[in-house]
Every structure is written in C-alpha cells, then in structure tokens.
Symmetry: C2
Subunit: 182 residues, 2 copies
C-alpha cells in the first residue's frame, strides 16, 4: 500500500462530517447554488477583558445547548433547515444525539412550509444519509411513550437517502433535496 495513493483515495475519510459539510456549503455558495451556513456554536460569555490597544479577550465562557438546528439557509427559493450528526455505532444512532428543542424546532419548520431533515453519518462505513425530519419526530415521539431509543441504520436504508460523496462537492446533499422535496 503506497502512502501517496492512500492519501489521494482515502484522503478525506478522516474529515469529520462537520468539516465536510462546511466545505460543501462553501462550494454551494461559491457556485451560487444555495446560501446555507452552519450557525455559530452558542456560547455563554461570563467575563471579557478589554486590554488597551488590543482585541477584547473572553476569559470565561461556557458552551450552551443549541435550541435550534445547526444549519439553515435558502435553496431554490425555499427555507432549508437541518441537523447533522455522526455516530460510531455500526447499526443505529441513539436518539440522545438530538435534543427535545431541536425536534420541536423541526416540527415548526415543517408547519411553516420549510424543508427540514437530518444528515447522519455512520463513521464506521462512512455511509451518510439524509432523512426527512418527520421520521425523526416520529421516532422521538414514540420513544417518549416507551418506544426504542435509537433509529436503526436499516431504517435510513429503507426510508432515507444515501448521499453521494465525491471530491467536490464532498457531501452533495442538495442532489437528494432536489429528488425528495422538489
């Protein structure tokens, strides 16, 4: 196995889903296909120093839980909203990867005429699926009344959509959005 070859072929296997999506979204913006961004991580700022002649420095802050999804924007005139998650489990993703607020948010988006989905990457295989947010909401609601606490990969295979991966765009989820929502 030659190292160079390996780097070329499998080079982006080591990228996280978030990195791949950032590169993909930047590509969509540069080619004027869509305007979709990841929202900044919400931070609770407790203390800031304002040194003379240099930039304000945050010296105490904490991560907060997001109340919405991570990604939103516009595509073909429609509002787009999604959450992206990676799991190391081979055959399922635990529902605890999502929060109640996020599921509630996705229900609202649907009600107001937006396009909502999740993107889930199974790291072991690199298989990455798009699944409409309605399905997440169904699993979520069922889990609250005793149903299973995860979504099986089999379900993604049957009701979701495998996202094609290539060099650019890396995770071409808009190709799936075209098929599913338009």
């Amino acid at each position: 196995e030659k190292k160079t070859g390996s780097e070329i072929v499998y080079g982006h296997r080591g990228m996280t889903l978030e990195e791949d999506l950032n590169v993909t979204n930047r590509y969509y913006i540069e080619t004027d296909r869509a305007v979709i961004y990841k929202k900044p991580t919400p931070i609770q700022i407790v203390h800031v120093d304002y040194p003379k002649r240099s930039a304000a420095k945050i010296t105490e802050a904490y991560f907060r839980k997001a109340s919405t999804t991570d990604y939103n924007g516009i595509y073909r005139g429609k509002y787009i909203d999604f959450e992206a998650k990676e799991t190391t489990h081979e055959n399922y993703i635990p529902l605890k990867n999502f929060h109640a607020h996020q599921v509630e948010h996705m229900k609202r988006i649907k009600r107001h005429g937006g396009i909502g989905f999740i993107i889930v990457k199974f790291s072991q295989s690199s298989d990455t699926y798009l699944l409409e947010s309605d399905f997440l909401a169904s699993f979520w609601d069922a889990s609250l009344s005793g149903g299973r606490k995860s979504i099986p990969k089999r379900f993604f295979h049957e009701h979701g959509h495998l996202i094609p991966q290539s060099y650019l765009p890396r995770i071409d989820y808009l190709r799936i959005v075209n098929q599913v929502f338009f």
Copy 2:
C-alpha cells in the same frame, strides 16, 4: 413627572433594539406566527479547560466578525433574512455599521428568492424602520465609487417603513413584511 407613570409608559425605551427583537421573535414563535432567531455571536475559541466533574470552561476566546446577517428564519413559507442596527446619530446611519460580507450575503439572499431587509433604530427618537436590502446595496455600491458614506434618516422616511411599536409584539416588523413582500 411621576416616576411610576414614566416607567409604565416609557418603560421599554431603555431596551436595546436587540433585546426588543429577541422578545418579539420569542413572541412570534410562541404564537406560531414565524420561526426567526438571532444567530449566536461567532467566537473564535483558543483555549478550553476540561476540569474533572464540571463543565468545559473556555478560558481564551475572541469575537469574530459575522460573515452573514444576524437574523434569519421562515415566515409564511418564505426565507427571511435581516440585519438590525441602532444608531445614536439623529439624522443618518453610517454605512460602516455594516460589513461588505453582509451586503454580499443580502444580495445572494435576494437572488435566491428570499426576503431581505435591515431594521434600523434611531435611538434619539426611538424611530425604527424596515428598509429593503436592495436599498442598502445601492448605497453601499455607490459609496465605493465616491458616494456618501451614510444613509439619511430622510431616506428611511421616504423609502422605508416605520415599524409600529407596542407592548407585545414590541417591534412588529412582520406587519411591515406582510405589506412590503406579500
């Protein structure tokens, strides 16, 4: 002048535009009229401590300049995107309150079929206007070729829309959005 009366009538004069918009957006969500949020402030995190048995603590971080606008979401099935600014100048707002990236972003949103605008509050009078992003873009582009470096309040009066203010919703900008964009 009685203090209590003053507090009741002018009580919310002391609120910043951002606080007023947050309360307004929360009201829109609770009454299921729209789903619009302010994006978190983008922060560049340099150092995080992970103490045992307590929350991760960010000990060095800096504010970053936003590359998009501050607010987006969905209303009546349409993508909504805006930036909000307050100025202490009585008769104009300097263009340096906005960034090139933001103006570029607003042009993209327009091109993709979204609704884009700015909300500007003149603090001295509390007058708060909605102005379509096209006008900001025109002023911006003109300023790059020697034009004026600010937008006069007179222009907001003539081409923008004064936003009605009340107790709840505080800054009812969706009423203007209904008139202007639908």
